[in-house]
Symmetry: C4
Subunit: 375 residues, 4 copies
């Protein structure tokens, strides 16, 4: 099955030359089987896997559906307006590309392709610290469409190096720093261990020099360093005029502290089920976290978002935007940049249709009574 025309990506992974046909792609799920056929098994496993027994991986997908939608009639627009503002910037779509590592395994263009597709869609794109393309390349590729382009920061734990990254990101036109706070230890994904997946030493573009050099080096590096702390958040916020987003919060009890330490937004996430198996999922805590902000910070969410109706639930719960990564990676692997364009088109259309039937004219129109817990 396929892979005949495979060539090497610059990152050592085989990807086929010829993009898959999008004729039978009608939803985001459809990209996954196409991608699975085309990706190296180690790469597919890396993208697809979760921690432990992968319960959270499955829970993420299932838990948006634990809320039922309650449409209101005769009140909606046929094509509700999806434009929103995120940290003061305008986005045409409240759905963005979450910061996924190693996008070069899906396609030679890697992060460049997804950044360009997001920009075309007016959607937020978040570049991972563990990218296969540099901050500057991605900043240049995305152009100046006004769509939010943010930089995700791991600080594990060389503050001087991290500061350099933040300054590079600011210089390259990125509009916010998304500080990941749920990685005091590396996730333990057994699929990767079984496939002997290893991050090629060459691809760790934004790690401190003594951390680069493959998985073992990175883990050893981490072990030498103290973990990130609340006081570091304030320090990091002070380096830049860019707004700071804290990504990986799951407890409403962490919200106040996040805001007090300078967070302008809270990103609710269990890291795609890749860090600690068995945690709460975003839709289980999102509403409470929004309430805990008391309007002082924007809230985003990720984890298992695949349908416009999932996005609608998140908006109803008070998220200002949602993010997802795997569908975009699969779209990229399946059909390159055209695949990513199609992914944005699909999820945008689905959200528009969902909002129309919910009976609203724009994303601001949703209210808590638009959902109920499923029985």
């Amino acid at each position: 099955m396929a892979r005949k025309q495979a060539r090497r990506s610059p990152f050592g992974f085989a990807v086929p030359d010829v993009p898959a046909s999008l004729d039978d792609v009608f939803n985001l799920h459809d990209f996954e089987s196409l991608a699975r056929e085309r990706l190296a098994p180690t790469a597919y496993g890396y993208y697809a896997s979760g921690a432990g027994d992968e319960r959270s991986l499955a829970d993420n997908l299932a838990s948006w559906s634990r809320w039922r939608l309650v449409p209101r009639v005769l009140a909606g627009a046929r094509h509700p307006e999806l434009t929103t503002s995120l940290l003061g910037a305008s986005a045409a779509l409240p759905i963005g590309v979450a910061p996924a590592a190693l996008q070069g395994m899906a396609h030679p263009d890697g992060e460049l392709a997804l950044a360009r597709a997001a920009a075309r869609a007016g959607a937020p794109f978040v570049l991972s610290t563990a990218s296969t393309r540099s901050i500057e390349e991605v900043g240049a590729a995305a152009g100046d469409t006004g769509a939010p382009r943010w930089f995700q920061l791991y600080v594990e734990h060389d503050l001087a190096f991290a500061r350099e990254l933040v300054e590079r990101a600011e210089a390259a036109g990125f509009g916010a720093v998304v500080l990941t706070v749920d990685l005091p230890v590396a996730g333990y994904r057994e699929r990767d261990l079984r496939t002997r997946f290893s991050i090629p030493a060459s691809v760790q573009a934004h790690l401190p020099p003594d951390a680069a050099g493959g998985d073992d080096t990175f883990v050893a590096y981490l072990d030498r360093k103290p973990p990130l702390r609340w006081q570091d958040v304030a320090t990091i916020a002070g380096w830049t005029s860019l707004p700071l987003v804290l990504k990986g919060i799951l407890s409403p009890l962490d919200v106040d502290r996040a805001i007090q330490h300078g967070a302008r937004a809270i990103w609710v996430s269990n890291h795609g089920g890749r860090q600690l198996d068995g945690t709460v999922t975003a839709p289980e805590v999102l509403g409470e976290i929004v309430d805990a902000t008391e309007g002082r910070a924007e809230v985003y969410a990720d984890g298992g978002v695949r349908r416009g109706s999932d996005v609608a639930v998140a908006l109803v719960l008070g998220a200002r935007a949602v993010f997802t990564a795997r569908p975009f990676l699969y779209a990229l692997a399946a059909a390159g940049e055209a695949g990513a364009d199609r992914a944005f088109e699909i999820i945008g259309d689905e959200l528009r249709r969902a909002l129309a039937i919910l009976g609203v004219v724009d994303v601001a129109g949703v209210r808590r009574d638009h959902i109920r817990p499923a029985p």
Copy 2:
């Protein structure tokens, strides 16, 4: 297996000449496999499919069973009376044919066959705007048995044309207008997209001239028009002396407004799971909607009704009648009008038996303590 004797229906779909034997049909489910064998895959897919991941399609079927029946002993009739009145007219059965489009794909006689079978059973029949037979043909075919015969109206969004339809329906002896209010956008049913199903241009009998001509034309037409609004409901109610039913309401919060704008009845429906995947189902909101009417309007329900016990639950929750479409379409495809007759016989018998064991003598005898939430 079958299709040997297939001929073309006037609507371009192959249906076999020889009706299936009804010897092994003991419940409404049994019609589906017979129909599936006989229908063109595109036609079967059109009838069977739902929106999105088809969760609501499955939820509809499952959710009547989330209520448990609590029989009372030594109180029922052996053959409880099923006669009821709907909008002032008498019906021998509180179970009707929901307005399904394109019945001509199931059988050359299409809507004529189901209208005649419903009339014989004394059951309500609702003709879809998107029928394959004209208002006048169906009005004439059904004869004058006194069973309720209503006209379902899409107003998307040519008021003059809609008014013409209402006047034609009234002239043809239809007794109510069922205005569908949950279709601000066309449903997105991926099964239809995968089978490349397309509505033949010739069959759209009751669309405005500039909307007819196949799916693309219709969608383009919709895009040019503003969606239906609450004020339009009052306008439409004013065109006719026929009572107005609003079909597609799922929120108790919409009830008051519906009544104030002239609705004489509320039809609780998620459009058979065909519009927005993930909504509440009728049995989840029916009781609250009935309560919200405070007796000012009748309430009907549809979605996943397959068994007399489902109907009993709906009656207990306060519905005055329930509707279903797929089982009748499958019965029609399986064995023509005789199939439809048998479907009415089965569901009527099942309801009678359920009410007998619940311990009532007629449909008015059910009370809320006849059900409990399943554990």
Copy 3:
């Protein structure tokens, strides 16, 4: 598999001559597969089937497990005493044979075999009106062990004939009349319809003369008669000095009336899932029904009892005894009377073990805090 040595039972069904080995029978479930191999498919279907979609059939089996057992330590006997009294008579086991029709299909000895096995076990046996052996034969066969032997009465609806049956039962040494009150209409079991199962005209031992003669005759007979009413209960209670048990009650709201009309015991049952699909199950309402008696009547339960732990749950909820039929029919079909003996031994041992671990010394020792709803 098997059936080689089959011969005709007097009721026209093939049963093998040679009993199955009991070497691998360790619980009541084990009898079913043995029986299925040996019974005519129509007979197996008749025993095994339920009404409608057979949801209640499955719910019955599952719902005892919706209560979790909470053992207390260091308080029980190693072999707790199972003896109890039922309607003033002593029973060595609080587990009896529910009145199942047509036991002659399982074994030529039919009701005689199960009555004898129950008597040996000191367990209650309830003879069905629709038996294949006469009241007098069963009365004589069971002997005088003191174990409760009751007669189940259908009154559908020839009071003179019913009175004759009650007088025959009293004369034959039966100790109570179990009046079935949940059969205003015959159940509709589709498995029987699909197998074209029909009750042989010859076997309806205790039906009025104009009702005998096969299913059609019986159904026609029922249709000519008014259903049983509350006032009939008082009438029937007045015919005999035997205590009256009302079987088939599921609503706590029927308890008071039952007692006022002369019931000395309430039998909670959904008729093995054979009457109305989708009802509540015994474990869902048993506790409330016990509470509603306020000690004025004994309460029994049936439906899905297969394990000693199921019996323990029923006792905790306040049942004085539980009944089950299918396991005894399967045991009988598998290995004749020896099979039934083994069935009593197994369920008795299981109950004893359950009570020992729950920490009680006899059946009276259980308390409501011995169970909790499963999460």
Copy 4:
């Protein structure tokens, strides 16, 4: 598959000579399939089986996941400290080997191997009365690492003999007596009955002389004896200066009495689902039992613990340590002592990672708001 190089263990069971490779063992589940290949089916069945329908066996595994973890960010150590104290002694790991019978079936070294591995890991080891090695052998093998080494006591019911065992255990350096209180009758595990599993007469090292001699002898012995009672607990506590742990408590109502009769710790357990099927599980009652102690006793738990996240849930609910047996038996069968070492390494790493992501620096840092019931 395998077993080619099998030899006899001293207890009559075949185990292969060559240990399995641990290269593909990434979690505790992985040991089971390796062990299953290598163990005699009777031995595997004995370890793996549960009582009745094995619902509790499955519930145990599933029920830790009915609690969701709620991480707190920026607060944890990278390598949280796992050291705790149990009954005043230090343990490097709050995860121990539960007292499992007949470890010699898994490996010729039996209890010696697991005791040595636990000692190396600093983890508690509990020797079963029904061991295949003597108290003195195990005491000597484990050496003096300071890790808790306890003796589990069955008193069924020869107090003089039991006292002798306690004195031998104390002399052999065991630090606590774990009195099992949930075995008034032997469990009834049907898998063992189907495989005709029988405990070899030679292996029952610590049974009174008139009880030894195989299953039948033991069961007959039990039948001659009264069961253990609360007053016996106080008697046993008086024999020794060792602290007494009561193992097998599931009701919060038993806690006070346990403490009053001299228990220094409560071990919440349903005996691995091997005694009474259908009981509550540890995670369902653990929190309440901890609350009932009001700090007067330590609480432990077992049953279905397979993951560090399970251990974390137990700690959050207030357990001071958790125990598990099957994974260690399977590890032992798979690869001998090296397997057991790996098992401790895996579960310790998983717990450390879970605590790091929960945001604590040591086991004492967990709080009840670190978990929520799963929806």
